[in-house]
Subunit: 389 residues, 2 copies
Amino acid sequence: MEHRRETIAILGSTGSIGRSTLEIAARLNDKYRVTGLAAGSNVTLLLKQTAEFKPEIVSLRTERDAAEFRRRYKGGRVRVTFGPEGAVEVAGRSGNDIVVSAITGIDGLGPTLAAVKAGKKVALANKESMVVAGAFLKREAARSKARIIPVDSEHSGVFQCLAGQKMESVSRVILTASGGPFFRTPLGEIGRKTLDDALRHPRWRMGKKVTVDSATLMNKGLELIEARWLFDLDPARLDVLIHPQSIVHSLVEMRDGSVLAQLSRTDMKVPIQYALTYPEREVSPLPALDLSRIGPLEFHRVDERKFPLFALARTVLEEGESLPVALNAANEAVVGAFLAGGVRFGALAGLVERCLAAHVKRPVRNITEVFDIDRETRETAKIILKQRT
Amino acid sequence: MEHRRETIAILGSTGSIGRSTLEIAARLNDKYRVTGLAAGSNVTLLLKQTAEFKPEIVSLRTERDAAEFRRRYKGGRVRVTFGPEGAVEVAGRSGNDIVVSAITGIDGLGPTLAAVKAGKKVALANKESMVVAGAFLKREAARSKARIIPVDSEHSGVFQCLAGQKMESVSRVILTASGGPFFRTPLGEIGRKTLDDALRHPRWRMGKKVTVDSATLMNKGLELIEARWLFDLDPARLDVLIHPQSIVHSLVEMRDGSVLAQLSRTDMKVPIQYALTYPEREVSPLPALDLSRIGPLEFHRVDERKFPLFALARTVLEEGESLPVALNAANEAVVGAFLAGGVRFGALAGLVERCLAAHVKRPVRNITEVFDIDRETRETAKIILKQRT
């Protein structure tokens, strides 16, 4: 019997999540067909991906990149687009069943929203969308019947634990954090750490921005805000534990004293594949997790003096309104400057705090206002970063 | 609005599980009403329980105990019965919605079967029923629409992890074992251990028989056989890990590399309450599990040289037919002799093995044959135990 393969569009196909998704799609190619790819400016890799997967549409960040792609492309028919509109077109196209949203940062919001509005099954790796516009995405998903399946390993874990459970029975959701490279660094020494130190993550291999966010634990703060919207949980029911082994990704505490947890190897292909195949599960080529060969599993509370950006994110989670948008924008701007060099690791928290201090908290009424607050905060950050130098 | 409370009969009400069940029923007394109690020979405690919970029927092990109960009882109307038929009557009575099956050993089989045949929701703590007659109990439950909810903490954990998952996606079910009091005892010293040593369980407070079975790890072997029937899993998909902290009770490995686990404090009230309230969950007065205050969680493989009865149970699990019945009977008889004094801890495995060596493996066609094989093996055990002295 001939069966129809599900079609996948990947936003951020040349990034870490995008490449892993394509690996899975290639392995499960009797189930999936890739029909759209949106990339940044890695033209060479996108050409390779296009030759292999033969999508119907590709998009690049700029017109120049798109022109270069067209010049170098030798394959069959493919529509080549570019810019935010290009990514939105890839996301919302009627030929896709599944959209993997894996563009990093606020740039992912527009295409993610397009996928949600079009009622797709959205495998969400772009946590910033949920952080800054969770209420709007959830509302649109309810309208369009889009299903949002988280790809972040922690949220995938929560999602898996919640299957078959009633939300009214859940007393707390706990995300684990590896603690990043500085978990065991004494308080007094963290300030002196460098970009190289921050990029040396002990467990996960990820993009640079999220690796820095893991070192400050801002990543976990953003994930709490993401969880707040994904699972419709009030902030008091959200918690974090440091778990340096990164085997347990999250825990769901039920009101009767039982706790459900999800574990796996630290390989993003586990949650990516789950998001694609949900509600089914397909065989994975990864060796089974053998807990007897992994050192003991430790759990610690977060020391908020060592991780002030995590403490800031918790406050923002509780206060809500426009603050998550401003926090995300300030953090992206400041981490961007850190990655470019010239900002000390120890200065990150103070800089983000100064950006937030300059922000006037207010309700966010629509997506346009999300982009306005984002832009405004980046302007503020630019000035604050300039004052320093 | 007046609502009807669910009615509970408890088989083994004066034992550890029975007493905990009554505590829960008292706390959740707007949901549950206790209508039947079957006890052994603790007349004094059954009198107290009857005064407090006002069941419609009680049963004791012997006619003498029942006569004593009647003599000392000062309360309202209650039917007093005794013997195996008494327990069966309590179990199968039309007034009960839920039957908690917590009589230890083969004695629990008759009443459990009666509850299953009557289509009750059966909270199953009597693992021996499933070990010796799992195929029959499952067949009867399918006929009568009885639901069997496990009370053993490990099986309750598996049951909870499987909610919302498809069995075809499950690659392995792992039960944890605390390792009992001798997990860290060197191989050469285990043989010399005494009854007192064996009864000093590091984590769980339970009846004496199951505490000894925890020291030999036979308990975990029986639990594997129980899991085989409860979850319809072939032996190759069942495994055990030693986890001395007894916080993770079981793990369910999915074929896509995810593992789901259930954790809780080592308090049997968690799985008992879950079995009663399933599919709902009610608030528990237990303090939340705080993993940051518990030492690291360790997992080890079982050293089968140290725990030969576990190795034997694994073989029996794989070979099936009449062997589980013979194993359970031999173990009950030998542990009984150990509890009575006069058998060394180091001799337990050899004695059970000799009983099994004398048994001729054969198919079991019905429940009568289960009882026949059980009786026959106990006779063999009696002879073997006598030869020793």
